[in-house]
Amino acid sequence: MIATMKRSTHLSWVLRRELFFRKLGFLTIPQLDPRRCSQVITKLLYLLNQGDSFTKVEATEVFFSVTKLFQSKDLGLRRMVYLIIKELSPSADEVIIVTSSLMKDMNSKTDMYRANAIRVLCRITDGTLLTQIERYLKQAIVDKNPVVASAALVSGIHLLQTNPEIVKRWSNEVQEAVQSRAALVQFHALALLQQIRQNDRLAVSKLVTSLTRGTVRSPLAQCLLIRYTSQVIRESNTQTGDRPFYDFLESCLRHKAEMVIFEAARAITELSGVTSRELTPAITVLQLFLSSSKPVLRFAAVRTLNKVAMTHPMAVTNCNIDMESLISDQNRSIATLAITTLLKTGNESSVDRLMKQITNFMSDIADEFKIVVVEAIRSLCLKFPLKYRSLMNFLSNILREEGGFEYKKAIVDSIVILIRDIPEAKESGLLHLCEFIEDCEFTYLSTQILHFLGIEGPKTTDPSKYIRYIYNRVHLENATVRAAAVSTLAKFGAMVDALKPRIFVLLRRCIFDSDDEVRDRATLYLNTLGGDGEVVETDKDVKIFLFGDLDIPLVNLETSLKNYEPSEESFDIDSVPKEVKSQPLVEKKAPGKKPAGLGAPPAGPPSTVDAYERLLSSIPEFSNFGKLFKSSSPVELTEAETEYAVNVVKHIFDRHVVFQYNCINTIPEQLLENVSVIVDASEAEDFAEVTSKPVRSLPYDTPGQTFVAFEKPDGITAVGKFSNTLRFIVKEVDPSTGEAEEDGVEDEYQLEDLEVVAADYMMKVGVSNFRNAWESMGEDFERVDEYGLGPRESLAEAVSAVINLLGMQPCEGNRGCRSQFKVTHVSTLWCIPRQCEGSCTVAVWN
């Protein structure tokens, strides 16, 4: 029957109708046939498993029919009933119907009834039901039958997420279960107990101590214990002497179960600040796994060693021989991991040998593995720049072979990085790329390479070599590539005056191209490059116009263009705001519920640059302040859950600063009127208050804005501290009618201080090419200074602290910090501060 169903799934709709009638038919028969009912349920489960889902109505129908089946005493049928109840996830009012049957089962003599009834109940229960059955669950935890105990414990682990207060009351029973002789009961009890106590460091530490000395009855429990031990070690932070519990971990390396040995080895390698001496026994064990007959062990070992090689390459070199034999492993994941590990631990002399082995290996593996290898080769080349020749040859050889887009892109990116970072490799690298584009099937890659040639080619000793390659693209390729080639030729012409005559000749031929873009570009360049085929210098402004970077974020440009209305005035590109909005990091697997309700901060008007500008320009008092330079993000001036929630946005103009206070009244029985903020600027001498704009009325839960404007001298970055007090008239409101009284009382509410700092004057600007912009600014603008940041946990944290303090935009991918090395990390930041164009290179010392 099921085989027939499997063959065509569009019968499922028909089948479902049929099953429903049949099911109802079954239940009218005075005697239930348990076998038939089981089969019906199996079919329903099959449908669900294949991806069908019930509508709400159908689910309810099935649920009610199924509940009638509790009448039967058949074990098999009952078990199927349990399964389908779990799948249907009934709502609260439906659950009540089965509760009494399930509770009866929970106390039945048959162990399997007890165990499974517990699991079902705990799956569908809510808080109130839980308190009713709590007693039984506690008994079940210490039940003689291990299946029952495990069922209760595992259900407890799940329930801890939704009803933690209830589950925490079972501590004593769970503690008893940890001592159980049954292997898996101890495992489940240990898991539950640790989760109950996880916020109490001392309790977890005691648990670990007692168990490391006691008996652990199953490998799973031992693995858990190892994980908890690692956590305790991490939190203990002892600087002096031996690590606590290290001996325990080391002894686990000799356990008889492989899962325990591996867990212990991995735990040791992941200890923070682990020394070579501590690592040695773990690596020895992993080395043995490398030659195991079980692929899982080889995989686990090589993956762990790969991670260790990133931080302790010397410790892993002993395993190199075993790893080299893994290159030919049948499991390609293992082989790739082995190769990348070898590439990390290899030294200069082994590079050539490795390359030979890898060449044979590459043809066997899939593209995604190849990309991993290519990236590892790139890192290797950067580590040993003298070996660039053989590595570059290798890369260009594989570039010529078959491969998908991502793979070839990875290779091209690697070659580009090598060219940039290893000056000696530039000539050969560029030639390799030229040869590649003669044959490249991916337009994107061809255009990228042509663009890159345009930047790097003119700087070489003999740029004319590349002209032939580039010009051939104009003949032979599609329109996009031809256009890119024309631009590249023009770049050569602009940068290298000697080549101008030849370039002009070539460009003139391009005017007759069939494609608009190509013709337009050729014409543009011919008219702007200067001269008419003579060797003259191209005007500097022309160069910037043609080839300079567009420093405006494209998003802003798009918005401005959309807002532009065709009129007498042409579109002014300088009017596009340059501020870069930092993108929120999208988390891939985002769990967790977002807190809402009372804790939420008061919203001002939608916080975009345009919205702020519109808001401020609509207020007559501020209309003559000029163009808004920058608005800060909202700063909280009150703590969470206070009567009045206030945050402030600082708007910077040429000679003025406006504080916008966003206020919310969270008390329903009050209405606030004439709300304003009294600002004490005695600690900010440069500022003089100009005007204050109060909010007329602030009813419950409606956000309102009040403004205070200050004048400040132009030309200096004035900083200062301001203390704020909220002043208003409060009127009592009758909650039932919503009407306020006639008279009110004057009152004040103290807010936190706010500061205006240098960072407020810095506007984040994205720059596409930092080096060019830096070089174009000249020596006079350079300022070198040292600042103390205080101790920070890691390099990454230090870098983000600098970014936040200075208020500048990190560029060229420097936002993240991947290196773990204890050297200076050069982070390049860029900004346009208020008074002058500026940029700053920050070197972070560890």
């Binding site: 099921i2 085989a3 074990l75 199927m80 399997m112 595992v154």
Partner: protein, 176 residues
């Protein structure tokens, strides 16, 4: 922090990659479309490998997948990338062996579909909401088989006797 070993899904696919039984224990694949895409990807990635004698392992989209093939059935278990691969392999081996015991050695698609209820119960007895319940194949099969018996008294039989009785009952009813 979640320190307990956790299984993300258990899959039983046929030799063409179509689903026979599948249970997901986390929200990484929220829609049925996402689940099917994952199954397709994992099937394609492992199709050409030989996973008949030993449990094999691979990585897919930042998850570890352990798998084994028996006749025309492909067994998969998935865990997160930080998970202990050896634990996952042990669970998989328990699953494969338990199914072997329940189908009395005829581990093939036709048998699996005939006794789908046993397969679903088996999966239910191995992992509950992501947490490992049992890894020993004999115990798993014992828990499943004891449900196919007709009355409470039979729980005292050895499980193979119970299994035989179960077979008899099912066969009789299916022939109707």
């Amino acid at each position: 922090m979640e320190l307990c070993p956790c299984v993300k899904n258990i899959l039983l696919l046929d030799f063409e990659g179509k689903r026979v039984a599948a249970k997901y224990f986390c929200d990484d694949w929220p829609t049925n479309g996402a689940k099917e895409a994952f199954e397709k990807a994992v099937f394609n990635k492992t199709q050409k490998t030989n996973a008949r004698s030993e449990v094999e392992v691979t990585m897919l989209e930042n998850d570890i997948v352990v798998y084994k093939f028996v006749q025309d059935l492909h067994f998969f278990i998935t865990g997160g990338e930080e998970e202990n691969e050896v634990i996952l392999a042990t669970v998989l081996q328990g699953f494969v062996d338990a199914v072997g015991l329940l189908l009395r050695g005829n581990v093939e698609k036709r048998e699996a579909l005939e006794y789908l209820d046993l397969i679903l119960l088996c999966i239910d007895e191995i992992v509950d909401g992501g947490i490992i319940l049992e890894t020993d194949a004999n115990i798993i099969a014992g828990k499943v088989a004891s449900h196919s018996t007709v009355a409470d008294g039979l729980s005292e039989q050895t499980f193979s006797q119970a299994l035989a009785t179960a077979r008899e009952h099912l066969a009789r009813s299916l022939l109707k």
